[in-house]
């Protein structure tokens, strides 16, 4: 195997081994979105508004929760690597920026796969949604892509923090615009023009566009521009992250 791939898989294997040992982390990562989705269900159920179509909201909310949690967990883990100097040690021992980032993405994708699946199953079951398998698979793909992008975004943002405390201001800065400007809560057409421009910088916007098309009876390619923007967004963030992952101060 090429040394590049060998080192990528070495990082992925190491992160997976750590996850395997940290059962509490895995438990929390999987159970927290499940609990929040249940609270979301109670919220919509209590509204009991026949004019409100909950179906239009729940999947974007579910995707947003996965985005939020994946972003926070990945950013903190990366900053912890910097604080404990294991990141410097990795790089001094020959690992390159891209190898580390890809290794992390591969390892944490397994967690994102589980998280997205649990959220999808729970939403479908609690809200008694009756979508075709193809639609559910498409929704799952969008949620999963958003989770992977959130990891890349977290790795990029972690470069601007030297300790866990410095990560916290980035959490609302990166995640809250996704809540208010993505079209998840209100249509972006009613927002001022500058806010509409800003919405394009959050990956939740593209995910919400595709999810809205899917939950209103369309297919994956009805919003092809938004769909293709997701991997493109991920690629750009990945490139930025690999150029900026610091081994020096």
């Amino acid at each position: 195997m090429e040394p590049f791939f060998r080192r990528v898989f070495s990082v992925a294997k190491r992160v997976l081994r750590q996850l395997q040992h940290d059962k509490r982390f895995i438990g929390l990562s999987l159970m927290v979105p499940v609990a929040i989705i249940y609270v979301l269900y109670v919220f919509f159920d209590s509204l009991n508004n026949p004019l409100l179509n909950a179906n239009a909201y729940v999947f974007p909310f579910g995707a947003y929760i996965v985005h939020f949690l994946t972003f926070v967990l990945t950013a903190i883990v990366l900053v912890r690597e910097r604080v404990t100097e294991t990141l410097t040690r990795m790089m001094v021992n020959g690992y390159q920026q891209l190898e580390i980032i890809l290794g992390y993405l591969i390892a944490y994708s397994t967690l994102a796969t589980g998280q997205s699946l649990l959220v999808l199953v729970e939403i479908t079951w609690l809200f008694k949604l009756d979508y075709s398998f193809a639609t559910l698979a498409s929704i799952y793909l969008v949620m999963w892509l958003l989770a992977v992008i959130s990891m890349a975004l977290a790795i990029f943002v972690s470069n601007f923090a030297n300790n866990e405390g410095q990560v916290f201001p980035f959490i609302p800065l990166v995640t809250l615009p996704g809540m208010f400007l993505s079209g998840m809560v209100i249509s972006i057409e009613v927002l001022p023009e500058w806010a509409q421009v800003l919405s394009r910088f959050t990956p939740v916007y593209y995910a919400t566009e595709v999810l809205h098309a899917l939950t209103s009876g369309g297919n994956l390619w009805d919003e092809s521009a938004a769909l293709l923007s997701l991997p493109a967004y991920g690629f750009v963030v990945l490139v930025l992250a690999s150029f900026t992952l610091r081994d020096n101060d």
Partner: protein, 291 residues
């Protein structure tokens, strides 16, 4: 004949914002030497080591490590150096062997498992190879950390306070390891603030507030200290202060011709710690002396 230089630092400056961490630092380390960087906490030792591994960028001066520039040639350089940071920098959830294997894999090593085993034998941790690092004592973690820096058999070993928080017995084991490695041709730069360790080094640089105060062998540094000869004639005591005691002592003793009344002689020299503190301009309150 001059040996090749493993490290050549000329006029190195490093600033963090308005803080000047290193000021015009000049250091040269010959291959195969154990070179000690001695200084108090915050003197600039870790900053200098980070510059050597390319984990920090100098603001001025010229730096060559094994003939390479640490930032520009970092890929080539990092294949030849081993770095032990001040903190253990290990994955606590993984076993000692898994940590070594992971860091070793970064170097594309052949027969990695064999090298991991050999390195764990060297630091006498084979018995705990499969235990998670979180279950090891502080001293054992330091040994795993050292092993991670050694697993690829580097030409140059950069150790940032490797014996901080380590008990006396383990410290002596560490120094035995360093001497074995140096005997095998490895160059070692080790930072410490423990003066009793400095004596093990071939050469020392004393660093204070980012500046190198002096560079010398420990023996020559010791000679810089003042020595006082105490001579007793019965109950009467005389003291003779000497600046250069290996030369001044015979002269002073000659004066006495070792008279029958001389009942006791005592030579009190400054400790290395006292000499270093003197160089730093500190006023030690409890220096003690070596008799």
């Amino acid at each position: 004949m001059t040996k090749d230089l493993a490290i050549l630092a000329q006029g190195i400056d490093k600033r963090y914002g308005h803080i000047q961490a290193l000021k015009a630092v000049n250091i040269s380390v010959e291959e195969g030497q154990i070179f000690g960087l001695i200084g108090a906490n915050g003197a600039g030792k870790s900053t200098f080591i980070k510059l050597l591994v390319g984990a920090a960028r100098a603001n001025g001066g010229s730096l060559r490590v094994l003939g390479l520039q640490p930032r520009k040639d970092r890929r080539a350089l990092r294949e030849q150096i081993g770095y032990m940071p001040q903190s253990p920098a290990l994955y606590e959830d993984l076993t000692a062997a898994e940590n070594l294997r992971f860091f070793g894999q970064g170097h594309r090593l052949d027969r990695l498992n064999e090298k991991v085993k050999h390195t764990l034998d060297f630091v006498q941790l084979s018995m705990r190879a499969d235990d998670p690092v979180s279950t090891l004592s502080g001293g054992m973690k330091q040994r795993v950390s050292l092993a991670c820096a050694l697993v690829h058999q580097p030409r140059l070993l950069l150790l940032d306070e490797p014996t901080a928080g380590v008990d006396l017995k383990l410290r002596s084991t560490f120094w035995a390891h360093f001497k074995d490695l140096a005997a095998g041709g490895t160059t070692i730069l080790v930072s410490t603030h423990q003066m009793d360790e400095a004596i093990h080094c071939h050469r020392l640089a004393i660093i204070s507030e980012g500046s190198i105060l002096t560079t010398d062998t420990p023996q020559r540094l010791l000679q810089r200290g003042r020595a006082t000869l105490h001579v007793w004639r019965g109950e009467q005591q005389e003291k003779h202060a000497m600046q250069d005691y290996p030369i001044d002592l015979p002269k002073t003793l000659r004066k006495y011709g070792l008279e029958a009344q001389v009942t006791r002689l005592e030579l009190v020299t400054n400790s290395l710690e006292a000499i270093v503190l003197d160089l730093m301009g500190s006023s030690p309150t409890d220096l003690g002396g070596n008799t």
